[in-house]
Amino acid sequence: MKRIAAALLAALLLLFPFFAGDFYVNLASQILIAAIFALSLNLLVGYGGMTSLGHASYLGVAAYISALLTSRYGFGHGLAAIISIAGTTATAAFFGVIALRATGLGFLMITLALSQVLWGLAYRMSDVTNGDNGIAGLTRPMPFGISLDSPASFYWFALLVASFAFLMIAIFVSSSFGSSLKGVRDQPRRMAALGFNPWMIRWITFIYAGFWGGISGLLYVYYNKYIHPSSLSTTSSAEALLGVIAGGSGTLGGPVVGAALVLLLKNYASAYIERWNMLLGLVFLFIVLFMPTGIIPGLNKLAMGLRRALR
């Protein structure tokens, strides 16, 4: 039953460009990118108990490094991607050392402050970043000579990367290290007494989350062929956090569903209602009231209740 559902889902995802129009294929690509980003944030929020309001930093840093290297310094996409991911991971390592001096609200405030610093730099260092104008006229890479310029080809590329990310993150959370991480989230003192190093476990997770945040940032800049400081903004971090919490933090499917929800609302509702944020707020309120643990855990509970009632 589960296998059939998974096979159907895989077929649907693979064949999507054959029966959907360009608008929807592009929307799906954006959802895939947002899903990777939300999955990486969920490592911190859901599995690590570290609520970050600055995760857009890693998306933005990766996107900016790639944009600058390819457009201004004439790097090829391959090398630019490697430098960009390495730079983003190093940024996460550095920011992690600062942010992990605190936990809880203190941690949240430090991540927020650090991301604001980057956002400010992107705005003000206009001789490098082009400030408020952003960097335009970027190109998409051509892996193995395949052009990614059509909506369908980019979608498949994004689907490939997102599936790999999902798989890697699924393995990560079910590994010994993932168990250590959840243990440190639930009982840090006990974990230390058992021989685990809570700080190191949190830091490594922070770096790993930054790495995947960087991957989503690369896809983001490839997709848009444009980067603007707003992608580093707190709004961008908060939207992803909202998606993770709405979908169900600490689950694998939750961030994907949440990211899709936020993007669909943004794209659909904004066509009809100017204040789409208000609608997002209402939907979020509804979720918090009726499914306080998020959509995926909420639906699971509902399905379990139904099954029991039918028995």
């Binding site: 590994s175 010994s176 250590s180 974990m191 230390a192 007494a193 058992l194 021989g195 685990f196």
Partner: protein, 251 residues
Amino acid sequence: MTRPMSEHALEVIDLKKAFGGLVVTQGVSLSIRPGERRLIIGPNGAGKTTLFNQISGDLRPNAGKIRLFGTDVTRLTPHKRAHFGLSRTYQIITLFTGDTLEHNVTLGLLGLRPSRWQMWRPLSHYGELATDARRTLDAVGLLHLADHPVSDIAYGEKRRVELAMALAQKPRVLLLDEPLAGLSNTERSQVKSLIASIPRQTTVIMIEHDMDTALDLAETVTLLNYGRVIVDGDRDAVIADERTREVYLGA
């Protein structure tokens, strides 16, 4: 790394700890031999748990030294002390409530193994970890509940999971903080025989209020009051001591 030889499993030397003006540990010194069964008693607020927290590294003393098998560990973090062979249980049950009993004990095993850093292999692929965890659960008589989450089991059973997590680590020094607290008479005798069966390679230091049960398990007793060692020595000598009666019966 060569470890200096020592005839003591644990040495606490002139330990001092104060929270602001409140002095909770005042020059406490203890010497405990390998394999010894030591009971620490004292009225509420005597500083027993605070002493444990300093030995385990959760609290840092203001002055004094703590040595494990001759090595000064006073400045080491709790997780480093665990790798020196120190394990503990908590007075307030500190378990992973959403996880199964097997997973709880597995975490105890994982804490001392390098595989705890492994990120690319599902935990369920480590067959020997599961076998070891189930063996430990069997030893505390909880194997039949191995697949249940901790939130499903009774309080007395949780106490035994606390013990199982520490025992799984095969510690050289084991700190038990009120392992009998809140147990019924039957559970009490179960846990008592469990503690009695701990192998002699493990030095056991226990805080306990239930004297009837605890004294049977102890060879030596330390009486604390107001953060000071009042009497220290062989069990019978401490019980017979005038000062013990004074503390407990008020002269």
